[in-house]
């Protein structure tokens, strides 16, 4: 019992430390290359956490979340352009609207995509993503097509440029984490886990599976859309193939699998490990496209060696260690 309390206190202290560190990071490491990496890492913390709400809790693997990312990006860019908003802090206020619009899209997409299960669902989400990419390319009058869509120019210069985006991403990531935590503890979350374990049995015991799945899908997409919006403002110019990018969609999935599917901290851990590595590879080997080979190698290693992810593997290890922990009291030389 005592050990359990110690673990809780340590976890609490660790969380507070991590939060303080996250809040103060721009002051600790103000150079723009570090904050740039931090912005993208937090972006993926948010994306992976949001993806996990659908993919991890319900077991429905969506490879099309890049579609929501791009949609949120375009939604914010078009809102700002149509309303004539100047660069500054004001665009951030429109991020929730981009999120709501993405959520509405997710209601429509989810309504037909969730008629399918398992493999078919995966494929439908992929098709949805390419459909959105094609729309962004073809609706030239609205999106600017292949020549891209510009955002208002942010007024910050030099090392200060990244800081507002850092905090915007931090807020979104924290909100996504809070939501994920709340869902995990709620009856709704319990229903989602039941759907993941056996959807037909969940239905039989009265879980409103369709409504639950759709809700999780919409919540997940809303966060991804908002993060996409901030990303668009950060990079100031977006193109269909770079915001509706299959690589963004697969990255968040890989991060969740690396950290631990369906766990609260797994997506965070996965993003913090993989995103800096991915950026390093992209910045150094991006021109030769060799970074794709590195990335694919990491990917394969993760899935083949640790298909359950870091957190569940470590947890299993701790459980085993706890089970054998009283051993020191036992006489030495006894096989564990």
């Amino acid at each position: 019992m005592k050990r359990l309390r110690d673990v809780r206190v340590l976890t609490g202290l660790g969380l507070i430390l991590a939060a303080v560190l996250a809040l103060l990071l721009p002051a600790i490491a103000p150079d723009s290359s570090t904050t740039n990496i931090a912005v993208f890492t937090l972006m993926y913390v948010g994306l992976a956490t949001a993806w996990n709400i659908m993919g991890g809790y319900t077991g429905y693997i969506s490879l099309g979340h890049a579609g929501f990312f791009g949609f949120g990006s375009y939604a914010l860019g078009l809102l700002l352009a149509k309303l004539g908003i100047e660069g500054g802090y004001a665009p951030f206020l429109f991020v929730p609207i981009a999120g709501v619009l993405t959520g509405l899209l997710a209601v429509v997409v989810g309504w037909f995509a969730l008629r399918t299960r398992a493999a078919t669902f995966v494929i439908v989400t992929i098709a949805f993503m390419f459909m959105l990419q094609l729309l962004a390319e073809n609706l030239v009058g609205l999106t600017g097509g292949g020549s891209g869509l510009g955002f208002p120019r942010p007024p910050w210069r030099g090392a200060d440029y990244n800081v507002p985006f850092y905090y915007a991403m931090l807020v979104l990531a924290a909100l996504a984490l809070g939501t994920s935590w709340w869902i995990r503890r709620s009856k709704f979350g319990l229903g989602l886990l039941a759907i993941r374990d056996d959807e037909d049995k969940a239905l039989a015991v009265g879980v409103p599976a369709r409504a639950f799945k759709l809700t999780a899908f919409v919540v997940s997409a809303t966060f991804v859309g908002m993060i996409g919006g901030v990303y668009g403002y950060y990079v100031t110019f977006i193109y269909p193939q770079f915001v509706v990018d299959p690589l963004i969609g697969i990255s968040m999935v890989l991060m969740v699998f690396l950290g631990g599917l369906g766990t609260l901290g797994g997506p965070v851990l996965g993003a913090v490990i993989l995103e800096p590595a991915q950026l390093h590879l992209a910045y150094n080997y991006g021109a030769s496209r060799l970074y794709l080979v590195f990335y694919s190698a990491v990917f394969l290693l993760v899935i083949l060696l640790m298909p359950r992810g870091i957190i569940p593997s470590v947890r299993a290890l701790i459980t085993r260690w706890r089970a054998t922990a009283p051993a020191p009291a036992a006489p030495q030389g006894v096989a564990p």
């Binding site: 299960r117 992929i126 073809n138 030769s288 496209r289 990917f299």
Partner: protein, 301 residues
């Protein structure tokens, strides 16, 4: 919309588009058959199928570029190579997946696709290339328009390979083992079928057909290492439309899709042609979530 007095011309154009759609539909039918066969036997979605088609096209490109080997003839070499590669990939990357196979297989094959794209990009850059042969511009007239011979050759080749595949599946005992595994993996294992071997060979067959599809695709289209995204989104749509694991469904869906796409390109606009693909997918899923020839799967996900 064309004005009424060009009704005849428009009709010819639509007819031409339909014929072209059937001819290119044959290639997609072949590629999609390999993909749906792999799904049927192993219950995995091979997201890397498009990349393997592109790899097949590049293998033939290398043979043509360095030794002037005719693209169709190069299949004698590339199909066995791709078969062996397929068996290796299955044994190394797909077989180890024990739990959560469907989801993990998507990620693994996606990673393979990225790796192949990266390697091809390293060797061939992202410039577009096309397979060529001395006869590739020859064409013959038919009912007011001309058809290029390579489209016909490609179609016939795909037809021949598909026929061979069906013969193998329905007339040999190994084909029986494959079909048994597709129907019920556990039961197949119980009656003494080595499902691991069947899976590896089925993956190899899928790859060999991808090589053939790659040649026909590469001689009728320009391609670069990134072309696999476009390919895989079409192929996945086709196999879902036909019903996952249904060869017959994949072939019919491929023909329907490509004909519709080519007609749309003529009647509406080429930029909206691929969009029709997804519209049909959505429409079919609303009416029949299991696809045209699929059976409703009630199982744990």
């Amino acid at each position: 919309m064309p004005p009424p007095h060009c009704g005849f011309v428009a009709l010819t154009l639509i007819l031409e588009a339909a014929v072209l759609g059937i001819l290119t539909g044959g290639v997609y039918a072949l590629m999609a058959s390999g993909l749906t066969l792999i799904f049927g036997v192993m219950r995995i979605i091979n997201v890397g199928h498009g990349a393997l088609v592109v790899l097949g096209a590049y293998l033939s490109f290398v043979l043509w570029h360095n030794w002037n080997v005719d693209p169709f003839l190069s299949l004698v070499v590339t199909m066995p190579i791709m078969f062996v590669l397929g068996v290796i990939l299955q044994v190394v990357f797909v077989r180890p997946l024990k739990t959560d196979r469907e989801a993990l297989s998507v990620l693994v094959t996606y990673a393979l696709a990225l790796g192949i794209e990266g390697v091809l990009g390293y060797f061939f850059t992202s410039n577009y290339v096309q397979l060529t042969a001395w006869y590739d511009t020859a064409s013959f007239p038919i009912g007011g328009f001309r058809i290029t011979y390579v489209y016909v050759y490609g179609f016939l080749l795909c037809l021949a390979i598909l026929a061979a595949m069906f013969l193998m599946l329905y007339r040999t005992s190994f084909g029986g083992a494959i079909r048994a595994t597709m129907l019920n993996r556990t039961a197949a294992q119980l009656v003494g079928i080595d499902v691991d071997r069947v899976s590896a060979v089925a993956f190899g067959i899928g790859m060999a057909t991808a090589a053939a599809g790659g040649v026909v695709f590469g001689i009728t289209n320009t391609f670069n290492p990134g072309s696999h995204y476009d390919l895989i989104s079409r192929l996945l749509t086709i196999i879902v439309l036909g019903g996952l694991g249904s060869l017959r469904g994949a072939i019919i869906a491929a023909l329907v899709m490509l004909v519709t796409e080519d007609i749309t390109a003529v009647v509406i606009s080429p930029v909206w042609a691929s969009f029709v693909f997804f519209v049909i997918l959505v429409a079919v899923l609303i009416v029949r979530p299991q696809g045209l020839f699929g059976v409703r799967v009630r199982e744990r996900i």
